[in-house]
């Protein structure tokens, strides 16, 4: 009797466990499928380009110092992976600190400009001057002023991140729906309350759009600054390899930069999806 009852109790438990297992298998399959779906296009296209590249180099007998075959680049990358990881880490660090400084500076200035037409008119020409002057012009100047250390790299990265953040944030801070603003005004909200509870949240989508541009620009800034005078970082590695006609290392450096860019892009997308869960773009 008791065993029969025990089996009766156990049977649904087993069935529930089986159902849970099936459910988690389905969930795992979905995740794998989603990852595969997002990796498939770049892997396919990238593979095709590599094949064509390899065929061209072989068939036309292109010298190695002019264009290395992809196999050699991969070999260089795998053989010295620790080196590229370390140098990439240096560049990523400079780019990230630069992004942080550039973003904070742009935010502060954007808040001031969104509240004062005088400051907006006065500061825009300055911002345009900073933006229209190519980074290659600033980089040697910054090296001259701040030396060969990390400082000039961080500053160049900050400089290049600054403009897109500034322009978008000023627009975003003014993008408050007029009726929401009217509700706040009707209860005498202070300028700070309107800024904190209304303007900044409504500016976040604009801010993230700019962040995605700026994050990649920062890497360019750091690399250009390293090119102009450094003893480490991917920019330095590429500059040295370039002067030695070591094109395989140049391409290995480019691939390292691609990884840095992809990681930054993915991190920002992830953050955006978290913070902007309320925004139309992320609603189910």
């Amino acid at each position: 009797m008791s065993t029969a009852r025990g089996e009766q109790v156990r049977a649904p438990v087993a069935r529930r466990q089986a159902r849970e297992l099936a459910r988690s298998l389905v969930a795992a399959y979905r995740v794998v499928r989603r990852v595969a779906a997002s990796l498939l296009p770049p892997v396919t296209l990238g593979g095709l380009v590599l094949l064509l590249w390899d065929a061209w180099v072989r068939l036309r007998d292109v010298p190695i110092w002019l264009v290395p075959p992809p196999g050699l680049v991969l070999e260089r990358l795998l053989e010295r992976w620790q080196f590229f990881l370390e140098q990439g880490y240096v560049t990523l660090g400079e780019a990230l600190v630069g992004l942080l400084i550039g973003t904070l500076g742009a935010l502060l200035l954007a808040v001031a400009m969104a509240h004062s037409r005088f400051l907006e008119r006065g500061l825009y020409p300055l911002a345009i001057m900073l933006k229209v002057t190519p980074v290659v012009v600033w980089a040697p100047l910054f090296v001259l002023w701040f030396g060969f250390g990390t400082m000039p790299k961080v500053f160049i990265a900050a400089l290049i991140a600054f403009f897109p953040m500034l322009v978008n944030t000023v627009t975003g801070l003014r993008a408050v729906p007029p009726d929401a603003h009217a509700v706040f005004r009707s209860i005498h909200a202070s300028t700070a309350e309107v800024l904190w509870r209304l303007r900044l949240p409504f500016a976040l989508p604009y801010l993230f759009a700019a962040l995605r541009v700026s994050a990649l620009l920062c890497v360019i800034g750091a690399v250009v600054a390293e090119w102009s005078g450094a003893d480490r970082g991917i920019g330095h590695v590429i500059a040295v390899a370039n002067s030695n006609l070591d094109t395989a290392t140049v391409f290995a450096g480019i691939i390292t930069l691609t990884f840095i860019g992809a990681i930054l892009n993915a991190a920002i997308l992830l953050l955006e999806r978290r913070i902007l869960s309320w925004h139309d773009a992320y609603l189910p």
Partner: protein, 264 residues
């Protein structure tokens, strides 16, 4: 803080009206090329009165509402709310407002949107809000934790209504609040608004395009017309209260609608 505000017009303060608008004219833009929107409006609302403004597009209805709430300073004339300047009424959070856009903050749920009214300018007005009672009165007690995007258009406007009543305002300003809703929801919302208004005792200034809506809701209907907008008629609506949806088929109701249509 209060000392910085302009003193109320003593003549207005004496009228005893909750909202007094005296000789208000408004023009948009700088002087030589300005566009006149309102000319010489005089209007007084008794405490607890429900008054609607109707009129064709561009006659200055919304401008008048914004001037009444102190959101827009008039070019000429003065406004007083309960004997004080509109800025002081705003400072003490005596004004509630509902616009065509519910203007709920998308990152807050319904409860957060309503309780925000106590958090902003927190030195004035009620410190706490009985959100549950408010939500029950607008039929949203199950939606307290929902975000605006999870609500239908009618539910969003109900939430905006609850938010407007949250601070127990003396004056409620409504600018075509139901204009974006479908016909059925719109008609239901009228009577829901009336039930809340009867319980919570606010003076209401209601702007609408719909003559039926104005008659169904109001104690008085003001007709604005012309450019710049001028007061064309002030029609008392002496239909018994509480009003029901069925009354919209009654003869006196239809008579009033016809009379007002003729004035437009």
């Amino acid at each position: 803080m209060t000392a910085l505000l302009p003193p109320p017009d003593p003549a207005l303060a004496r009228t005893g009206a909750l909202l007094a608008i005296r000789g208000v004219s408004h023009a948009y833009g700088p002087a030589p090329r300005s566009v006149s929107a309102l000319a010489g409006i005089d209007l007084a609302l008794r405490s607890g009165e429900f008054v609607s403004i109707i009129g064709p597009t561009g006659c200055g209805k919304s401008t008048l509402l914004r001037i009444a709430g102190g959101l827009l300073p008039p070019t000429l004339g003065a406004v007083s709310i309960d004997g004080a300047a509109p800025d002081e009424a705003r400072l003490h959070k005596r004004i509630g407002s509902v616009f065509q856009d519910p203007a709920l903050l998308p990152w807050l749920n319904v409860r957060g949107n309503i309780e925000l009214m106590a958090r902003v300018n927190r030195r004035h007005g009620p410190r706490t809000i009985d959100t549950d009672a408010l939500l029950t009165s607008v039929g949203l007690s199950d939606a307290a934790e929902m975000r605006p995007h999870q609500l239908s258009g009618g539910m969003r406007q109900r939430a905006a209504l609850a938010r407007a009543f949250a601070l127990e305002p003396a004056l409620l300003l409504m600018d075509e609040p139901f204009a974006a809703l479908d016909e059925i929801t719109r008609e239901a919302m009228r009577y829901e608004l009336l039930r809340i208004w009867e319980r919570r005792q606010a003076t209401v200034l209601f702007v609408t395009h719909s003559v039926r809506e104005a008659v169904a809701l109001s104690d008085r209907v003001i007709v604005l017309a012309g450019t710049p907008g001028q007061l064309r008629a002030d029609v008392p609506i002496d239909l018994p209260r509480p009003r029901r949806h069925e009354d919209e088929r009654s003869l006196p109701f239809l008579d009033l609608v016809d009379r007002l249509r003729a004035l437009l």
